[in-house]
């Protein structure tokens, strides 16, 4: 790298020496980051702010999943289980102990410990046999957990989930600057949004640090050739298990953030298999093996989800007379189109949006 100014050095250090690496990619990421940072001021609607907060949470969730799928090359279907653990940890603590920061911390910490222990057990148990076992076993454990969560209704609220009060600082009615605010009305929701945003940013930078550390290099080598990594003296089981634990811990925190943001947690928001599918789509479409892909994948998918369904609703009313077509574009069938997109992107864009952009640069300057 050519010498940079002190400012560039600092930025490189924040990004752990792994800048996006392509101009249009950088611009895209900056647009997303700036949009999210300024969301409460430029997009003041309730729905858009909710979309922005969801993007923040899912960026973290998807990035942590990418640590497994893209960097270590293991497929887990239990990632939403950890996400759900975080959500339920905070939700249960706030429901039982009332709104307070102590409850939030207690809930998040308990969920974190439970997640790491569970991830450790699953990892030690199934990662030593065969990577393919891991996919199946995580699927089984995750669905057992989902059923358990919906059946222990005295604790988790069952299918209805839990609705609770978040700490007063984050409530809708809280007005630190009175009714006028500064530029826009600052409510507890704005503060909650920034809690989510900065926590998400910190977690993302932490993951960037992890994948660019010597530990992350070993993970990459395991992905490329596990046998060779083992021959070089790295205990691949240990590395895979630790990666699994880190990913689980970060997913748990993402779940805790979502629970803190929504003031509600239920199977459909954090635990259902549909979320797992969404996460898979985001990782693959954004780009496996690059954390920046998580940012773009989550943004594109969540925006698409929120607005694709609107589009489909319009199409569906337009096609109301045609029997099969109307069913095909019915808003509930959006997963069909995303599924097709998913298969096509695995075949034709295996490195996703980010991979495409980076590859283009490599072709231009050999």
């Amino acid at each position: 790298m050519p010498s940079r100014g002190a400012k560039g050095d600092m930025l490189t250090r924040v990004l752990s020496g792994d800048p996006p690496g392509d101009r249009s990619l950088t611009v895209l990421l900056l647009v997303v980051a700036a949009g999210l940072l300024l969301a409460p001021f430029i997009l003041p609607g309730v729905r858009t702010l909710n979309v922005a907060a969801n993007i923040c949470v899912f960026v973290v969730l998807v990035a942590s999943y990418d640590l497994l799928l893209g960097y270590t090359g293991i497929v887990s279907f239990a990632h939403t289980m950890f996400f759900g653990l975080g959500g339920y940890g905070v939700a249960i603590a706030l429901t039982k102990l009332g709104p307070g920061w102590g409850a939030v911390l207690l809930g998040a910490a308990a969920a974190l410990i439970a997640s790491v222990v569970l991830a450790l057990l699953i990892g030690l148990f199934s990662l030593r046999v065969k990577a393919i076992f891991f996919a199946m076993i995580t699927l089984a454990v995750a669905s057992a957990f989902a059923i358990l969560a919906s059946q222990l209704s005295w604790l988790t609220g069952g299918e209805d989930g839990l609705t609770y009060q978040v700490p007063r600082l984050l409530q809708r009615g809280f007005r630190p600057f009175g009714e006028e605010g500064i530029g826009a009305v600052i409510t507890g929701r704005t503060i909650a949004y920034y809690v989510v945003f900065f926590a998400a940013a910190a977690l993302f930078l932490f993951l960037l640090r992890v994948v660019n550390s010597p530990f992350g290099r070993v993970l990459l080598s395991i992905r490329e050739n596990a046998f060779r990594a083992e021959a070089l003296g790295y205990r691949t089981v240990i590395y895979r298990t630790v990666a699994n634990c880190i990913a689980a811990a970060v997913a748990t925190l993402a779940g805790a953030l979502l629970a803190l943001w929504l003031g509600y947690n239920g199977p459909d928001t954090t635990l259902s298999f549909n979320i797992m599918i969404d996460v898979l789509l985001m990782v693959v479409i954004g780009g496996m093996g690059t954390l920046y892909g998580a940012v773009l994948g989550a943004t594109v998918l969540i925006v698409a989800q929120n607005y694709l369904q609107d589009l489909m609703r319009t199409l569906s009313t337009a096609a109301a007379g045609v029997p099969l077509l109307a069913n095909l574009v019915q808003p509930d069938r959006w997963l069909l189109w995303l599924g097709i997109l998913f298969i096509l992107s695995v075949y034709f864009f295996p490195f996703g949006i980010v991979g495409r952009l980076r590859m283009r640069r490599r072709h231009l300057s050999p």
Partner: protein, 346 residues
């Protein structure tokens, strides 16, 4: 791939015993032991008998659905997460056929009833088999040898198939009535045995026997078994394993369709998501049985069916958890499953 050949630990795979299930009787004892162990817990022998029959019937149906998947994996290292789609397709085909044959199915005599049932499962198997062939060509063929992409792509295939079922058949669950002769139960002493469960057990045994006959008695079966153990060697002897594989894939899908039709009749309702729900049990079964082993798959399916029914009675909330516990225990005993297939790759 080839660099990993030497890596497989000889102590686990190379002792010959693993490849020959008949010389290794211990796993055969598991199902009877489990059944006997459950007896004192359940206390009431009549309930126990009912649960045991139900467990065996469920196990047979799970075996039908899982057997194709385990062979497909054994033969080509393809783990098909989309397998569940064929289960749902089979069940939906059964609703279509039994809907068309409502006269036969509702008739008071047993002969048209059996004809309707056979027609339903035959159509289910045929359609699922054809779809399986198509699925292999379109979805799986481009990603041979790439595990990660296979998992992702077949999962995508499952999502698309499930959504398409909803497009064609509507999003709601569809009731599926059994033919008249298979409704109700036999009462033997104080034990009530649902007639359909007997049908499921008999049909499962017939298919298992037929599979064993093909696998052990025919040249094709010999090639399939050889291919599971060492694909490269079979190829180097001049056989096109690729063609055998397509055949096995289609047959496995057909069995899944058959199992799905049976399962739909067992549940008496059909949903697009039922295949996905079954996949969890199926994965547990093929892991317990040892990936690629049909005999192991059969035993594991019985174990899982029995455990699910006993646990469903004793601790309903923990039913699926008990199967995972069962899997954990068996993997602690035999990390490669009940009957490990000697494999090239670790």
């Amino acid at each position: 791939m080839t660099t990993q050949t030497a890596h497989a630990p000889a102590s686990e795979n190379g002792n010959g015993r693993a490849a020959l299930p008949r010389r290794d009787p211990w796993p055969l004892l598991l199902a009877p032991v489990l059944a006997l162990a459950a007896l004192p817990l359940i206390a009431d022998p009549q309930t126990w008998a009912t649960l045991t029959i139900a467990g065996l019937a469920m196990g047979m149906m799970i075996f039908l659905m899982a057997s194709g998947l385990t062979l497909v994996f054994g033969l080509m290292d393809v783990l098909n997460f989309g397998h569940g789609a064929f289960i749902s397709v089979g069940a939906f085909m059964a609703t279509v056929v039994l809907g068309k044959l409502a006269v036969w199915s509702g008739a008071p005599e047993i002969v048209p009833n059996i004809a309707a049932l056979l027609a339903a499962i035959a159509v289910a198997a045929l359609v699922a088999g054809l779809l399986g062939w198509l699925f292999e060509r379109v979805i799986i063929a481009p990603v041979y040898g790439q595990h990660l992409k296979q998992i992702l792509v077949t999962m995508g295939g499952l999502i698309v198939a499930e959504q398409l079922l909803r497009v064609f058949f509507g999003p709601d669950q569809i009731p599926l009535a059994r033919p008249a002769a298979f409704k109700g139960a036999f009462i033997i002493g104080a034990v009530a045995i649902e007639k359909y469960r007997i049908v499921a057990v008999v049909l499962g045994l017939i298919v298992f026997a037929a599979m064993q006959a093909v696998l052990r008695g025919s040249r094709l079966g010999l090639l399939i078994r050889a291919g599971v153990e060492n694909r490269e060697m079979v190829e180097s002897l001049g056989y096109r394993i690729r063609r055998i594989f397509v055949l096995v894939f289609a047959a496995g899908s057909a069995l899944a369709g058959l199992g799905g039709a049976m399962w739909g009749l067992y549940q008496e309702t059909v949903t697009a998501g039922m295949g996905m729900e079954m996949m969890v049990s199926i994965f547990i079964v093929i892991i317990i049985g040892g990936l690629g082993s049909v005999g192991g798959c059969f035993l594991a399916a019985l174990l899982v069916g029995l455990t699910a029914n006993y646990a469903g009675f004793l601790a309903p909330k923990l039913a699926l958890g008990c199967n995972i516990l069962l899997m954990a225990l068996i993997l602690l005993w035999r990390p490669q499953g009940l009957y490990a297939v000697a494999r090239r790759e670790g």
